[in-house]
Amino acid sequence: MKCRPSTLLSIILLLTASYQAQALNLGDALKDVVKEKAGEYINPDKSNSEPSGAAKAGDNNAATSTPAPAPSQPAFNLKNPSQADEIQLGRKITGNLLGAAPLVKDEALQKYVNQVGRWVASQSERADLPWHFGVVESNDINAFAAPGGYVIITKGLYRKLENEAQLAGVLGHEISHVVKKHQLKLLQKTQLLDFGARLLSKKLGNENQTVEKIIGSGAEVCARSLDKEAEFEADRMGLVLATRAGYAPFGLPEVLQSISQITRNDGSVALLFKTHPAPDDRLVSLGNAIGSKLDNIKADKTLENRFYKLKPDI
């Protein structure tokens, strides 16, 4: 189903090269054109006011007429989204996700994860986002992040946790995805690919970019994998954020240990294992990054007493 961007880009480059064979350094120029055009396409307003040389170079084979934005649909600037844009995207994605699995009906639980999550998020460089956390009714073991500060964990994963430090570690991992805009970058990449595909089939229609278009179907974006490196990075950052918040640093690795005990053929981890590197690899990667750096950290609070216990399932 998925194409690597480099593959698609090279197909575009090859095809186009056949009719503009004389030009030197065509590769880079076209790469720029594609990027440029993708930006225009996503944000037509901007392209109209800022014609560029690179864009002109692509006129032979690309969209010569950039569609004018329909007045009723505001153009969405995915190329360089504002914080408000990010939140708008994240709200839509999370709303879709909640359509698949609603929040656990337990006000105290929801408040508790927001308290822990907000405190961990406050240790990040995006402390100013309006952070939202929720536990959803699902036996799957998984957690999700969406642009703009939305973090969801499943009841199945929550049930695996033993203390507040572990919760902080898990939320820290998801917060890091938001801080690093990993999901946003994934969406941007997809749009660029989409643009490339239209370029190939010359089917650049008079369509405007809407939030729905960017996200795709339902919450499928939540089922997509990020780069392995993005996951390792979120593990390192998540551990650091929880540590900065004063928790015992090993909450996240403990949860990874716990997840690594679950057999791969258990359906509750199918999506998690499909979209993430193996827990063992994550543990090794974390271990290599930590080395002796935690030797002098005094933080040791795990707070199992305060950890909110789920009500038993009926």
Partner: protein, 168 residues
């Protein structure tokens, strides 16, 4: 790994919890050195190789005291995967999980028919305004979170982000 008779697993689980207190096993996630004490500069007592099975004797901070077939010593806990490992055999890990109170019902029997979040379900999900508004109502401010943290004596500490590590 092949086919485990569920009734055997359940019988084993019912019978084993007491035993798991006696010994916990683990697998080396990487090749590493053991030390006589839980400190980086303590003298070495031996080595183990990635994949080696070992026994976990005790834990102190970020260190585990372990016993290999040849030696005993301390090693950083992230070098060890606790439990015999799901990749090897699901039986023992399942038991350990349950014994430590971690396992839900989903541990042994795959959850089917219960609400899940499969790719298909995510793809067909429809926006739920009611639920997203509820989520938003639970928001906590930075100040509220700060207060919540201090109630448990949590204090923010300085700690730099970790650069990507080098495989050792």
């Amino acid at each position: 790994m092949k086919l485990l008779n569920p009734s055997i697993i359940i019988a084993t689980i019912l019978w084993l919890p007491g035993l798991s207190l006696a010994a916990e096993f683990g697998t080396a996630l990487k090749t590493d050195t053991m030390r006589s004490e839980p400190y980086a500069d303590a003298k070495t007592t031996g080595n183990f190789a990635r994949g080696e099975k070992l026994e976990i004797l005790s834990k102190k901070g970020a260190w585990l005291q372990i016993k290999t077939s040849k030696n005993t010593g301390w090693v950083r806990l992230l070098s060890i995967k606790r439990g015999a490992g799901a990749s090897g055999g699901s039986q023992i890990s399942g038991v350990l999980g349950l014994a430590s109170g971690r396992a839900g019902t989903g541990q042994v029997v795959a959850t089917t028919g219960v609400r899940g979040l499969s790719e298909e379900e995510l793809k067909h999900a429809e926006f739920n305004e009611n639920e997203i508004s509820k989520l938003e109502q639970h928001m906590q401010s930075a100040e509220q979170a700060q207060k919540f943290a201090s109630q448990a004596g949590l204090k923010a500490v300085k700690f730099n982000y970790l650069p990507k590590g080098v495989a050792q």
